[in-house]
Structures are given as C-alpha cells and as structure tokens.
C-alpha cells in the first residue's frame, strides 16, 4: 500500500506545481481538481473513507465547478501582472525560505517511522455520524448558521450591480 501512497503523493505534488505554473487559468483550475482527487485517494489510504468521498463531492464536484464556471464566464485568458502580483514577487521569496526552513526543522526532529504508530482509522459514514450527532452537535448546528451567512452573502454580491 505504501507504493500507492507515493504514487498519489507524486501526482498531487506535480499537479500542485502545475496549478502555479500554468499560464491559463482554466488549466490551473483543472490541475487543482487533480490535486484534490489525489488527496482524496490519500485520505482513503489513511482509512478516512467518508472524508475521501466528501472531498471529491464537495471540493472537486462543487467548489471547483464554480471556479471553472467563473473562469469561463469572465473569459479569463492569460493572467496579467498587477501591482498586487509585483508585491507578491518580493514577498514570495522570503516566505518560501521560511516555509522550507520550517519543513526542514520538522523533518530533522522527526523521531522516525518506528516511533509513529497511528491506530488504524476506520472513519466510515457510521462512525462520522456517531461522533457528529452525539459529541459534536453544537458545532454541527453552528455550521448551518455559517452556511446561512454564506447564502446571504452570495445573493447580496450577485445582486449588487442591478
């Protein structure tokens, strides 16, 4: 199974690089879908079955649809450098260095695979449901308020022009 982990990890990384490197926004969006699907397989390998499929249904099948639709709607061809992106050029390099240092420290201080022994995770829909509706009822209910606010926001934004 480890071989599957490495294959899909490589897919995720290569697709992730393509998201950044592609010049055309539609291609970036499509590569992002590949990243999300590869991550879903990694969830599956970890035993988080429910999360894996929700990842595809919600992220790849809903949120990215909106991304692709918007790119198609706005007729976005090539990205053009703006003041913001020039600013990002200067800020980007130090941030990348900081991230690399952080990853380096994390890898350096890793005790090795022998010390990490996660219990087998079997998060099917049943166990997720049990946790969600017994232990985490309040966060679940608050989610609905969050979605409500998002619905209002979507309508207000879309109606602004008229």
């Amino acid at each position: 199974m480890a071989i599957l982990f490495y294959i899909f990890a490589a897919v995720a990384v290569i697709a992730g690089l393509n998201v950044v490197l592609q010049r055309r926004p539609v291609y970036s969006a499509l590569w992002l879908i590949v990243v999300l699907c590869a991550l879903a397989v990694e969830y599956l390998l970890l035993g988080a079955v429910f999360m894996a499929f929700i990842q595809i249904i919600v992220y790849a099948g809903a949120i990215m649809v909106l991304f692709v639709l918007v790119i198609m709607l706005l007729n976005a061809h090539h990205e053009e450098p703006t003041h913001g992106s020039q600013f990002a050029q200067w800020l980007g390099a130090p941030l990348v260095v900081a991230l690399l240092v952080e990853i380096g420290v994390a890898v350096w201080s890793w005790p090795g695979a022998a010390h990490v022994n996660p219990p087998p995770l079997r998060a099917g829909p049943k166990s997720v449901g049990d946790l969600l509706f017994h232990q985490y009822v309040l966060p679940f209910e608050v989610t609905s308020a969050l979605i409500l606010v998002a619905i209002l926001g979507a309508v207000v934004l879309a109606r602004k022009e008229s």
């Binding site: 199974m1 599957l4 599956l44 390998l45 035993g47 429910f50 929700i54 249904i57 919600v58 099948g61 809903a62 949120i63 649809v65 909106l66 639709l69 918007v70 198609m72 709607l73 706005l74 007729n75 087998p120 079997r122 829909p125 049943k126 997720v128 449901g129 049990d130 969600l132 509706f133 009822v137 679940f140 209910e141 989610t143 609905s144 308020a145 979605i147 409500l148 998002a150 619905i151 209002l152 979507a154 309508v155 879309a158 109606r159 022009e161």
Partner: protein, 119 residues
Amino acid sequence: MLSPYIPILVQAIIVAGLGAAILGVSALVGVRKRSSEKLAPYECGIAPVGNARGRFSVSFYLVGMLFILFDVEAVFLYPWAVVFKSLHWAGFIEMFLYILILLAGYVYVWKKGALDWTR
C-alpha cells in the same frame, strides 16, 4: 481495509485505456480532408461573428454558489441518515433545527428573486 478499492483502480486503468485506444484508432483511420471552411466554428451558415468566449449572465455564478452551499448541507444528511435509527427524537430535532435555519436562507433567496432565471 483497502482491498475493496483495488478493483476500482483496476477498472479505472482498463476504462481509461479503452477510451484512449478508441479515440486514437478513430483519429488514425478516419479520413482527412481539411479545408478552412470545414474547420470554422459553426454559426448557422454565416461567417463567425466576434469571439465565442464572451461574458455571461451573473445567474450562472449565483447558481454555482448556491449549489455549493446546499451541497455542503446535503453532505451532512448522509452520516445523519445512516445513524438515524440510533438517534431517535434527538436526531430528528437536531436535523429539524438545522434545516429550519437554512430554510430562512432559502426563503430569502427565493424572495430576492435569485431563483428566477429571467430576471
């Protein structure tokens, strides 16, 4: 644990191979008589006017947005439905409250006319 997913991986490889093979063969054996008229985009017999990739109604964006939100909501229904028999009335009340709050949003969207395509 993972073994039920192995056949899906195998099937994905077989199906993708089959699709690629058919498309490849079709591209190879098909006749090739190209002309600029034939390759022009279809426009009811007249020469194409302007770029096809124009801007579109904001309604499409709104539908996409509302779809995400209701999809996230629907996703919570599956684990709830699966364990429902062990939750009894508590489960009913939990989901009733949840849907009630979202119903407010739904009514708002409806009243604002965001569900009317022609406006």
